[in-house]
């Protein structure tokens, strides 16, 4: 009889869990999976880490490739969390061997060369429905609110992160959960530096940091929270 009780009990609790997960799925609630970036200052601002099933927007400000490096860093953390590859599209001039320095192994990168914006958006959406991926990244010039909402919804349902990498700050409002801007900054010694600012973060707070690369470990560390603190070399665990 005890066996019977156990059998009848478990589906109920399973259903309850499923319901909880379903309710939590609307917006970055408690059930949302967060991926730690390994940079305490940034994780704190994000409210515990980057939400996995969400849309994130990264804009380059000065036309440099700094935003590409930062996107690679975020993708690297997402890959590490789920051990699945990422889809980078179109990624026509991405140089795979260079990504490893930012924590993204080229073995985990898939490319699909979609040139037309409409096709690119469709491809991203299909990628978000594919359970074999950790994240998708689209290099896109402009996106409207509706299209970004579609991506956000698909990311939420699939539990897969969607990153948009743009060459300039966006003019339209988008449904992105976090919005980043990245600048190049002058290197300190042999360590390249970037200025990263989190302009918008649902369920977190904004911030402005100076990051620097670590030549020895290939990791990234926070050099300073801009304006107030002295440089601290806190290297992110790889």
């Amino acid at each position: 009889m005890a066996d019977g009780a156990a059998v009848t009990n478990s589906p109920v609790s399973a259903r309850l869990e499923a319901l909880k997960a379903a309710v939590g799925g609307f917006g970055p609630g408690a059930a949302a999976v967060r991926v730690r970036l390994g940079l305490p200052e940034l994780d704190q601002a994000l409210g515990g880490g980057l939400v996995q099933g969400a849309l994130h927007e990264i804009a380059s400000v000065d036309g440099s490739a700094a935003a590409t490096g930062f996107a690679a860093f975020l993708l690297g953390r997402l890959v590490k969390a789920s051990q699945r590859p990422v889809l980078w599209t179109p990624g026509a001039d991405i140089y795979a061997p260079g990504l490893a320095r930012y924590g993204l192994s080229p073995n985990r990168v898939l490319l699909a060369d979609f040139r037309r914006p409409q096709a690119l958006l469709r491809a991203l959406e299909e990628g978000l429905r594919c359970p074999g991926l950790a994240a998708v990244l689209g290099e896109i010039e402009e996106i409207d609110l509706t299209a970004s909402r579609r991506l956000q919804l698909a990311a939420e349902t699939g539990g897969i992160a969607c990153l948009l990498l743009r060459r300039g700050p966006s003019r339209n409002p988008t449904a992105a959960v976090t919005r980043w801007q990245v600048w190049s900054a002058n290197a300190q010694g042999a360590k390249p530096r970037w200025r990263v600012s989190l302009l918008r973060c649902r369920g977190g707070r904004t911030g402005d940091w100076l990051l620097e690369g670590c030549r020895e470990t290939g990791g990234i560390a926070v050099a300073a929270a801009l304006g107030d603190r002295p440089a601290q070399d806190r290297v992110a665990a790889r």
């Binding site: 490096g69 061997p97 299909e126």
Partner: protein, 574 residues
């Protein structure tokens, strides 16, 4: 017992011309009506009289124009193929003459053969004006042989072709009956009873044995007019007197030696067909029919432990033309939902015309599908229904009985990896099949793989994402400092001095000035002398690479060509 249809189109070439001109005329009338030039009920006298004129096609031979094909009216007026055109004109003054195009006739006949595949997958072209259909085991699908052959004849008549058909046990007997048998009044077809071939063709002339004119004439000269008169002859005498051909043809007609029918497209054993009582037009109906066929085909494949690599969908339109699309998968697959999604992208390319009366779905390439994937296909179907949070549990559930039986339980991570790979394969198939969201060309899902080269632009090459054997990146290969973006081709820089040996203090790139603050280098990369130089001469020169940072912190990868001392920008660092 084998059953074969012989289809003869006695006026094939001329019927084809008439149908084409009628279609063109119809289009012209349609256009004129639309433009308001004519009213629809205005009689088209020219067309009607054109229909009644005897029509012949003409081919040049030995400097003379000979009749190649003649239509019904010309035949009734006493003309024969092979006549000299001048003689024919003398007999029939208002003869309509067209040039003969045997190649176009053959192409159209091949198309008609493809259309006939809706009745049987085994269709072969027979000569210039006939077809063979092997309908063994097919007839019951169309309500029996009589209904099937009447259906076929009626459809062809409706297209505008004169036809004669016969069903018999052998191609030879069917051929003979279609061309020489006396048909019942008002009928275009005859069915020779199964097993009664010998009696049924006995009364036909010897020419019905597919003999050349010379041989038939020779037999007739000796008084052997009908096939029945050949039966009592000793075989040795027949061979000695007339050679191999008449005896062989007789054996073929009677089924003593086998005569296989070679279908135009190789028939696949994995096929699903659907015929509709009423032609369908709407995309939704086509999709529903496709779902039914996919379910049937996948069930059949499952019983044989096979998966599809290539699928071909053929739509048979009421006007006798075909529409077809094909999809390919990167690995064997028999998941109806996944296959359905691949077809969905191609639907807007299909034109149902005036309606589709039948569809066929053929697995043109099938491969064994491994057991692990078989289990995973079920697991995936279940996991789709459940929340992703329960994904792991869903994978395990269908495995439980199998795991209990087998000695060693399946490795869970291996299963997860296989599930991921299957999902990626589905994504790659989706991108690669047809035009994805109007992208002009199919897009491949690739992986940047390392290559045996130290030239930056040759060190990486895209390989298919799921090619398991491709090289992987090693820590050593990744230890050199490389940019995150590499320009498709190096861009020449404007520097202070166009040809400077030393690193310039500033440069212009894409119309923007950059002042160099920091520089590191050089890293010397020699050309690959064992390779012929590419069209761009730059490959053939040694390069000195520098990593530089401008005053605002942007980082670039520059190089100088050693011999000409020109500066280029090749990549961007983050």
């Amino acid at each position: 017992m084998k059953r074969v249809v012989s289809l003869w189109l006695p006026h094939w070439a001329t019927d084809r011309l008439k149908i084409a001109s009628r279609r063109a005329e119809g289009l012209a009338v349609h256009r004129e009506v639309r433009l308001g030039k004519v009213r629809l009920n205005e009689p088209r006298l020219a067309w009607a009289s054109e229909e009644a004129r005897p029509l012949v096609t003409v081919a040049a031979a030995n400097g003379r124009a000979l009749l190649a094909a003649i239509d019904e009216n010309a035949s009734a007026a006493g003309l024969l193929p092979g006549m000299v055109l001048a003689d024919a004109r003398a007999l029939v003054p208002d003869l309509a003459v067209r040039p003969s195009h045997p190649d176009k006739d053959a192409a159209a006949l091949a198309q008609l053969a493809d259309w006939c595949a809706r009745f049987s997958p085994w269709v072969a072209v027979d000569g210039a004006d006939g077809l063979f259909l092997d309908i063994t085991g097919c007839a019951h699908l169309f309500g029996g042989e009589a209904r099937m052959i009447e259906d076929l004849a009626q459809r062809l008549r409706r297209f505008g072709y004169r036809v004669r058909l016969a069903i018999a046990d052998t191609p030879g007997a069917a051929w003979a009956a279609a061309r020489f048998a006396t048909l019942a009044r008002g009928s275009d077809s005859i069915i020779l009873p199964s097993g009664g071939t010998r009696e049924a063709i006995a009364g036909l002339p010897v020419a019905a044995l597919r003999l050349s004119q010379v041989q038939a004439a020779e037999l007739e000269r000796l008084g052997l007019k009908t096939i029945a008169e050949l039966y009592p002859l000793p075989r040795a005498a027949l061979l000695r007197r007339f050679g191999l051909e008449p005896a062989r043809r007789l054996d073929q007609a009677l089924g003593r030696i086998d005569e296989p029918i070679n279908p135009r497209t190789p028939a696949s054993p994995h096929e699903a067909r659907l015929a509709f009582a009423e032609p369908i037009v709407e995309a939704a109906s086509i999709a529903a029919a496709l779902d039914r066929m996919l379910a049937g085909l996948c069930g059949h494949l499952a019983s044989e432990q096979l998966g599809v690599r290539q699928l071909r969908l053929v739509l048979f339109r009421v006007d006798g033309s075909l529409q077809h699309v094909s999809i390919g998968t990167s690995r064997p697959n028999r998941d109806p939902h996944a296959l359905r999604r691949l077809f969905a992208k191609l639907f807007d390319r299909l034109d149902p015309g005036f309606g589709i009366e039948a569809m066929s779905l053929t697995a043109t390439q099938a491969e064994p599908l491994e057991d692990l994937q078989l289990v995973l296909a079920q697991a995936r179907a279940q996991s789709q229904k459940r929340a992703r949070a329960e994904n792991r549990a869903a994978v395990e559930t269908p495995l439980l009985p199998a795991a209990a039986e087998s000695a060693e339980p399946l490795d869970e991570t291996a299963i997860e990896r296989a599930v991921d790979e299957a999902a990626l394969a589905a994504l790659a198939d989706l991108f690669a099949n047809g035009r994805f969201a109007n992208e002009p060309a199919p897009v491949r899902l690739t992986r940047p793989a390392p290559q045996e080269s130290h030239l930056p632009e040759r060190a990486v090459a895209p390989v298919p994402a799921l090619a398991g054997k491709a090289e992987r990146w090693t820590a050593i290969a990744l230890s050199t400092v490389r940019p995150v973006r590499l320009l498709p081709r190096p861009e020449p820089l404007e520097t202070d001095e166009t040809e400077s040996e030393t690193l310039p203090t500033s440069f212009r790139w894409r119309a923007r000035p950059h002042r160099i603050r920091l520089a590191e280098g050089p890293e010397r990369i020699a050309p690959e002398w064992w390779r012929p130089a590419a069209s761009g001469a730059s490959v053939s020169d040694t390069r000195d690479y520098y990593r530089v940072e401008d005053s605002e912190g942007r980082r670039f990868w520059l190089y100088r060509e050693q011999t000409v001392s020109r500066w280029y920008l090749h990549g961007l660092f983050a």
